[in-house]
């Protein structure tokens, strides 16, 4: 059950996408998302979808990973689809009792669904091809200018790194505690919602206690190794842009450019 979590999961590999600079990947992903939400006709949306398929193809990530990453957001997708379908005003298609579906509503619903799917698949591709450590490293470098306004960039990225690092540890710990309480006859599988929530107490309390203990120990260990934040810190792995980053940027900019042109010259559909 705990092993099904794919958010932030990394899929080791050696494709071009894996080798790209994390900063470039983050920027291109942001660009892609903006493009997805400014696109205003089917042609542009088609370009967006094709671009995503192309990216997945060269990343060699198995296609079933797309559906896996979409699974947890299915409720959100259904929710937005229904909202758009019933509440966007326009030429009525169905008019029955309190339900009004308009042509525009239906269209927005479909487009919105495609946009969200592309959004999730696109950002998942970023985490699939970038290890968490590299990702936070890239984020830290990208946000560096914010330091001028005393934004704690380094601290924030250190927090993210530590949080990501401890996800597997905590999962393992949860497993152990669950087994220990089951051995004492804890019933985790049956009963109603309230009973099940209550059954979680014997697991959550020891889990919190041990998380705090670990945090304490980690802080001490970091201090012992003279960690004092960002001051005078150097990196073992320096980030460098390569020609591949240039190619990736060019391809993406070309794609965005196409969408912009299509947006300007083709009729606005949605």
């Amino acid at each position: 059950m705990l092993k099904d979590i794919t958010i932030g999961q990394y899929f080791p590999g050696h494709s071009v996408l894996h080798r790209l600079d994390p900063r470039m990947k983050i920027l291109l992903t942001i660009g892609y998302i903006v493009m997805l939400f400014t696109v205003s006709n089917p042609l542009g949306l088609g370009v967006g979808i094709l671009f995503l398929i192309f990216a997945y193809a060269i990343s060699k990530i198995p296609p079933k990973m797309i559906t896996k990453s979409l699974k947890p957001v299915i409720p959100i997708i259904i929710f937005t689809t229904l909202l758009n379908m019933f509440f966007v005003k326009g030429d009525p298609l169905v008019d029955w009792w309190i339900f009004h579906i308009s042509r525009q509503g239906l269209l927005t619903a479909v487009v919105m669904t495609i946009r969200i799917i592309c959004l999730i698949a696109g950002t998942s591709l970023l985490t699939y091809t970038t290890s968490p450590i590299t990702l936070t490293d890239g984020l830290e470098r990208l946000m560096k200018p914010l330091k001028k306004i005393h934004f704690p960039v380094h601290e924030l990225s250190m927090m993210m790194t530590i949080a990501l690092r401890f996800i597997p540890t905590l999962i393992e710990e949860t497993d152990k505690i669950m087994n220990a309480q089951k051995a004492r006859g804890a019933d985790l599988e049956s009963g109603g919602v309230i009973q099940r929530a209550k059954a979680l107490v014997p697991i959550l309390i020891p889990l919190f206690v041990s998380a705090f203990r670990r945090a304490d120990e980690l802080a001490l260990a970091m201090e012992c190794r003279c960690y004092r934040g960002d001051v005078g810190r150097t990196r073992m792995k320096q980030l460098h842009y390569s020609w591949q980053d240039g190619v990736a940027a060019a391809v993406t900019v070309l794609c965005i450019g196409m969408v912009v042109v299509v947006n300007i010259f083709a009729p606005v559909v949605f």
Binding site: I177, Q181, A183, R184, A186, D187, P202, I205, P206, V209
Partner: protein, 289 residues
Amino acid sequence: MSVIKTEHLTHTYSQGTSYERAAISDINLEIEAGKMIGIIGHTGSGKSTLIQHFNGLLRPTEGKIYVDGEDIWEKPKEIRKVRFRVGLVFQYPEYQLFEDTVYQDIAFGPKNMGLSEEEIDRRVKEAALFVGLKDDQMEKSPFELSGGQKRRVAIAGVIAMSPEVLILDEPTAGLDPKGRDRILGQILEYHQEQKKTILLVSHSMEDVAKYTEQVLVMNHSRVDMFDDVEQVFSRSKEIEAMGLAVPQVSRVFLSLREKGWPVPQNVYTVERAKEALERIMQQGGKAHA
């Protein structure tokens, strides 16, 4: 009458994937009621996987387990009941404590069994007595106690369910020698008074030699030896070949024998060593005699 019996017990992790790995394979055991048994083996030899089968936390991928002659997976819905009959104390059990008071924490198991208030009270007090917890500690928060005390509370939590078989996975890991002797002494006492079967997983051969009657040696997912302590430690060479240590005295006596001293083969505790040496000294034994 065997209290636990396994037939071709096999457990394969991640079956059907490329990570497939047999943690234990084809284990056939009969554990007699009322014995105190030590389980030794390498890290990764399958000890933990094996003991988690005995109380139904893991379901065998192949084979069967019988507790008191009943196949425990015949009615999977009632597997919880098996856990009351076969109590398992995990490694570092103090990390499972969660209640407001020591008393309530020990009562967690018996409460899950659905016992009456009086019975729970009786069992909690009895279990606390066994592990040497004082009355004034019972109303404290378990988080206020020392490491050794916490561990004793956790062990009491399982003893309070009064299981027929008590399994302890390295109950003394990380304790100082005094705390170690104390906990093992209390477990031995519990065994002698209640006549319950006890399985003790340990890395310390000294402890196994001193406290248990039988030893089960796991190696490469299989049971390599399962016999009386004397028999097992007389095969010290094989045990060492597996990369496991034998009690230090056993080693000393093994080399004495190799050098030709007329010492017995089955010496594995300091007391026995003392007797054996005294006997030789009285006889005025000489080297190469």
